[in-house]
């Protein structure tokens, strides 16, 4: 089972972090830091497997990672996953991202962090591989994006207007208008 999927750049800035097992916020950050330290000091010509992350799991767990240009994709898995299989999975994930964003780069991941999450959730669910067929994943993502666009477009405008007006609470806002104390200001005029 995949315990966590982490993406960070060469400086350790997290770009995606997804945990399939509960860790509290501070521990999550520690795990990311530790993983970065372990992974970043390895040369590019060594193997992609690493044992010894102390925070997540212990001896049964491995870090399996790939390094693409400025980004590290790290999967933390237990012994029930095939090491080589996970490497392939990372490849599929990255290729899918590449297709969705058209030449994916770090900036895409930064500005569309939520979209990356959505893509990932079509690929891996609850720590297990869900679907590895890229075309299928793409199709599902596009369908969902279409729904979102519809909701944001013209058809959704009336609903938005209504809700905006509803929440305006005009009397209160008029009351809140603070005008300078005119009489006082006038009084202050000294000719």
């Amino acid at each position: 089972m995949i315990k966590a999927i982490l993406v960070f750049n060469n400086h350790g800035k997290p770009r995606l972090s997804k945990f399939y097992q509960y860790f509290d916020e501070s521990l999550q950050q520690q795990i990311i830091k530790e993983t970065f330290q372990l992974v970043s000091k390895r040369d590019d010509n060594v193997c992609n497997f690493l044992e010894g992350g102390s925070l997540i799991g212990g001896s049964d767990y491995k870090l399996i990672y790939r390094h693409y240009a400025t980004l590290y994709f790290v999967f933390c898995v237990d012994s029930s996953e095939s090491e080589l299989g996970i490497l392939d999975l990372i490849q599929v994930f990255v290729e899918t991202l590449d297709k969705c964003f058209e030449n994916v780069c770090e900036l895409d991941l930064i500005f569309h962090a939520d979209a990356v999450h959505h893509i990932l959730s079509e690929l891996v669910m609850g720590g297990m591989v869900l679907q590895t067929n890229m075309n299928d994943i793409m199709a599902r993502i596009e369908e969902q994006n279409k729904i979102v666009k519809q909701e944001a477009g013209i058809s959704a405008a009336p609903a938005r207007a209504v809700s905006a007006v509803k929440s305006m609470n005009i009397p209160q806002q008029i009351k809140d208008i603070k005008l300078p104390d005119l009489p006082q200001a006038i009084k202050d005029f000294k000719f």
């Binding site: 193997c47 690493l50 095939s82 080589l84 609850g126 305006m168």
Partner: protein, 984 residues
């Protein structure tokens, strides 16, 4: 009153004179108006994109923090205002902030509100937030369970998908229970998108609550006849989980009713995959859906494990996969790797196994490090099943030791240890030594311990073994674990004399290399131990190997060098001091230098070293005569180490063994050699009495040898046995009395002369000194009821010195007594102050018996469990003040009879001899008595062992001889009434 009126207006130039500047005031008014209008209009929060830009524009961490904090504060305020229009945007921003590592848990409830929204956009972000932000709090989970339940029934497949995905990610046991039926329903949905997600969701539900497996069993039937690969892969995942979870389910799947057995089904799917030709949908660099293949192979492995029929059914397909898979790409190797694992795990044919091992051999030679890594990994898993196959790849594996990659080196090292056997130990050790020299710090400890273990198991001869240990110590330097030090010392001590001489010389040579003293302290420790122990052999023994010998003053100079070096650790110095003390009896000329060096430690800053300095100094002064016997050579230690770890485990010995060890050393944890020795003896024998035996053995004080030792062994029993609070109760205590007395005899510190007036009970007092001391000897330990071993050691030491004080001959000993042990064998003393000792000694003088009674309970309550069953005490003879009592004790294989002879007359009995005879159906063994002189009040103990070869009742005839005033006296008596059987 006139806010715009400047008092010194006349001084100001006209443009600064705002007294008559209406425009200024108008500007203020206009600004106020604009602000008001802004408030009326809908405020637009920063867009996510803009926030990210702002954060990225921050040049320092502090700047970034400021931006984030500002935004967080704003988001919080919108949450408070229940702003539902921009909630989605705010949560999205919050999730970004969360990813950067800032706290974002305050958004949890807002996420839940979003999931309840009707818009898909909101739901999507809401569920994403829920997956990322939700913690394990019960109340939040309750809230989301409702949302999920609604959405699982939604008509939009993507909404259902979102809900399933969220449930799969954060299912708590309660949620799993509540929603399991919904998930089961969705598993039968006609929509493949929903079905595959539901299947994985079921997997997570089972993970959290295994009992729920039953619900999903029927729904799994159809999963494998599906065409869609998404469903197949999730289905196989679910079935794998179920099979791993319970053997019943595994059986259920194997014998699924009808013609849909699982193994042929899986084989069919796999066959279609590898032979089905190119399908663009599932192709990953030329291989058809490797993920599904891997999952199926994994499930086959579970199904075929220990099942000949199932294995038979999958042999063919495995062979096909192994031969038909294209291996130019990583994907192909993935499948091969999985196939090999499956072949190794099931009951596969011999030919198939050969094929698998050959594939691994190819893997090992692969240029891709990842492949090499998995090959080593797999070999490590299969090495125990098929060693010879793996042995063929030994040279390749040894090559991997030189790999630049840590992960590969680690695997190769582990595998190398698994491959060592009696035939290849020499070559393997050579390679591993090369590896050890260059290895990283993290490997050195593990590697050196592993090598020592291997050497212990397979060493061809002692000389080689000793050389290897030395090489390991040199190669691993300061990273050596303590177990290596102790095992080396053990090995040296149990080697024959020429080997001891040889290795001591080698140690000395290795110490000559510069920096070895500082960088290789374990080596230093072992070396000084050996030089101290075998100093006479080293300096003056036979020199067969033509070693260059140092002069005595050279030797002392080296000791002086590292004893005063700041880089040498305290533990090493402890070793060195003991060694030096021992050398003082081995060397012929330089005793004064040694004394000077030791004395200089009397004022050392380190308490332990100072104590040693002071105590050893005593051995050069008043107790000069004790020095040679005290510092005798230690007897050979037994080697049969159960555990390589530092003194854990070990027979019946309780958890307190580390305490014994750690108590004395400052900075406990780097237990010194002496400690480790005793420790390993504990492990070896698993019987606490033996430690005592060793301890005493190492003192070599016992004139009588074996018999005395056995009597001393009995001390621990008797100490344990002393349950009576009233020491004056002769019936209950006379036996322990004698044994304790015996111990004192053993230590050559006769205390009977001072206690004779009081007769047997005072004897108890003497013994009581021991037990009393054990109550005092280690202040920290008395509360621990089971700290018996520690206590006995402490007690032993104190009783020795305590009685010395009673004698009045050494009332000025400026140290606490319980460090006798440290002088004896390097066992560091339990550090207690001398004040308790003084009181102990005083107590001894005044009323040892009562003190015993008062202070004993700790000891008395210690170890009722260890008390061997004893029969009643039999009085064999009670005549003219001479009392002979027999106390039978049932041992595991024989009955031990402890004979206690006490003299309550005013005469001194000399040359006391007790002889015994039993019926022919018994075998009798008499152990040497504790002495042959019975002064008034004196006690002699002796042990007999009786082995019965039939069920006859034991009777014993005793003949007691002694000299009274130069005249031979003989007493004869017969004893019967021994208990027949071990009282259960």
């Amino acid at each position: 009153m006139y806010p715009y009126y400047e008092q010194d207006w006349s001084v100001l130039p006209p443009e600064n004179n705002r007294r008559f500047n209406p425009a200024f005031n108008m500007a203020t008014i206009r600004q106020a108006f604009t602000e008001a209008v802004e408030r009326v209009r809908m405020p637009t929060p920063t867009r996510l994109r803009d926030l990210i830009r702002q954060i990225r524009a921050a040049r320092t961490a502090a700047e970034e923090r400021a931006v984030v904090n500002k935004e967080c504060a704003y988001i919080r305020s919108t949450f408070r205002e229940e702003d539902s229009v921009w909630r989605c945007r705010n949560i999205a921003k919050l999730l970004y902030i969360h990813m950067l590592g800032y706290p974002a848990h305050f958004g949890q409830l807002e996420c839940l509100k979003l999931t309840a929204s009707t818009r898909f956009t909101d739901k999507r972000i809401g569920y994403l937030g829920a997956m990322l932000l939700l913690d394990e709090r019960q109340d939040v989970h309750l809230l989301i369970t409702n949302c999920l339940k609604n959405d699982l029934n939604s008509s939009t497949q993507f909404v259902v998908g979102l809900a399933l995905c969220t449930l799969g990610a954060i299912a708590s046991p309660e949620m799993a229970r509540d929603l399991a039926s919904e998930v089961e329903r969705l598993m039968k949905s006609p929509n493949t998108y929903i079905r595959k997600k539901a299947t994985l969701c079921a997997f997570r539900v089972i993970r959290r609550v295994p009992e729920l497996m039953e619900i999903f069993l029927p729904a799994t039937r159809s999963l494998l006849s599906e065409k869609n690969h998404g469903i197949l892969i999730t289905g196989v995942t679910l079935i794998t989980e179920m099979c791993e979870n319970s053997s019943d389910t595994l059986l259920h799947f194997k014998k699924d009713s009808g013609n849909r057995e699982i193994v042929p089904n899986l084989v069919r799917i796999l066959k279609n995959l590898i032979l089905g030709g190119y399908s663009p949908e599932h192709d990953v660099s030329g291989v058809s859906d490797p993920f599904l293949q891997v999952k199926i192979l994994r499930l086959l492995r579970i199904l075929g494990h220990n099942d000949p029929d199932a294995s038979e059914a999958m042999n063919d397909i495995l062979a096909q996969v192994a031969t038909n898979t294209e291996t130019s790409k990583n994907v192909g190797n993935t499948i091969l790797y999985e196939t090999v694992l499956s072949i190794m795990d099931i009951r596969s044919e011999g030919g198939l196994r050969v094929l698998a091992v050959n594939i691994l051999g190819r893997f090992l030679l692969n240029s891709d490090k990842n492949i090499r890594y998995v090959a080593l990994n797999t070999l490590l898993r299969t090495v125990h099943a098929d060693t010879s196959a793996v042995q063929r790849h030994r040279t390749t594996i040894l090559e991997c030791l030189k790999d630049p990659d840590v992960s590969i080196r680690r695997r190769a090292m582990e595998l190398s240890f698994a491959l060592i056997n009696a035939q290849n130990i020499r070559t393997m050790t050579k390679e591993l030594l090369l590896f050890l020299e260059k290895a990283d710090a993290e490997f050195k400890a593990q590697c050196s311990s592993g090598m020592i273990l291997a050497a212990e198991r397979y060493s061809p001869n002692t000389r080689w073994h000793l050389d290897t240990q030395l090489s390991v110590l040199i190669a691993a330097g300061n990273y050596v674990r303590d177990d290596v030090v102790s095992s080396t010392i053990q090995l040296v001590s149990s080697s024959p004399v020429p080997e001891q001489t040889y290795i001591t010389n080698r140690f000395w040579e290795s110490l000559q290399v510069s920096n070895h003293c500082e960088d290789k302290q374990p080596l230093l420790q072992v070396a000084v131990w050996a030089i101290g122990e075998y100093g006479d052999l080293f300096m003056y023994g036979a020199n067969e190997d033509e070693f260059e010998r140092p002069t005595e003053s050279d030797l002392i100079a080296v000791y002086h060098k590292f004893l005063t070096s700041a880089q040498v650790s305290t533990t090493s110095k402890q070793y060195a001091l003991v060694s030096l003390a021992k050398l003082s009896t081995r060397l012929q000329q330089c005793v004064e230098e040694i004394q000077a060096l030791i004395t200089s430690f009397g004022s050392h800053l380190n308490v332990d070293l100072q104590q040693r300095g002071v105590e050893f100094t005593q051995l050069f002064g008043h107790y000069k005569h004790l020095r040679p016997p005290l510092l005798e050579k230690m007897p050979a230690m037994q080697i049969s180490r159960i555990s390589s770890q530092n003194g854990e485990s070990g027979g019946s010995f309780d958890d307190n063994s580390p305490d014994v060890i750690e108590n004395g050393v400052e900075g406990a944890g780097n237990g010194g050699g002496g400690h480790s020795l005793i420790e390993s003896n504990m492990n070896t024998l698993g019987d606490n009495t033996n430690i005592l035996l060793d301890l005493l053995g190492s003192t070599d004080l016992s004139a009588g040898g074996g018999g005395d030792l056995v009597a001393a062994t009995d001390l621990s029993n008797s100490v344990h046995k002393k349950n009576s609070r009233n020491a004056n109760d002769g019936g209950a205590t006379s036996a322990p009395v004698s044994h304790n007395q015996d111990l004192l005899d053993l230590l050559d510190l006769d205390m009977s002369s001072t206690t004779n007036a009081a007769g047997p009970p005072t004897g108890v007092g003497g013994g009581g000194g021991g037990i009393l001391a054990l109550a005092i000897g280690d202040n920290n330990q008395t509360s621990a009821a089971s700290a018996n071993m520690n206590n006995i050691l402490g007690g032993l030491d104190l009783s020795g010195f305590g009685s010395g004080l009673v004698d009045g001959s050494a009332a000025s000993i400026p140290t606490n007594g319980n460090d006798l042990a440290s002088m004896l064998g390097g066992l560091s003393g339990v550090s207690s102050t001398s004040a308790p000792l003084a009181s102990a000694a005083a107590g001894n003088l005044i009323d040892g018996g009562n003190l015993l009674a008062d202070l004993n309970p700790t000891a008395a309550s210690n170890n009722a469990a260890l008390v061997p069953p004893r029969g009643p005490k039999l009085t064999a003879l009670d005549k003219d003040g001479l009392l002979v009592q027999l106390e039978p004790v049932w041992g595991p294989d024989c009955m031990r009879i402890y004979v206690t002879t006490t003299n309550s007359s005013d005469n001194t009995l000399d040359q006391y001899v007790l002889k015994a005879a039993v019926q022919k159906s018994f075998q009798l063994q008499l152990v040497t008595p504790s002495g042959s002189l019975l002064p008034p009040g004196g006690v002699i103990t002796q042990e007999m062992r009786v082995v019965a070869s039939s069920n006859a009742t034991l009777r014993m005839r005793l003949r007691i001889q002694y000299l009274l005033d130069g005249k031979q006296q003989v007493e004869q008596t017969e004893v019967s009434g021994f208990p027949d059987q071990v009282p259960e």
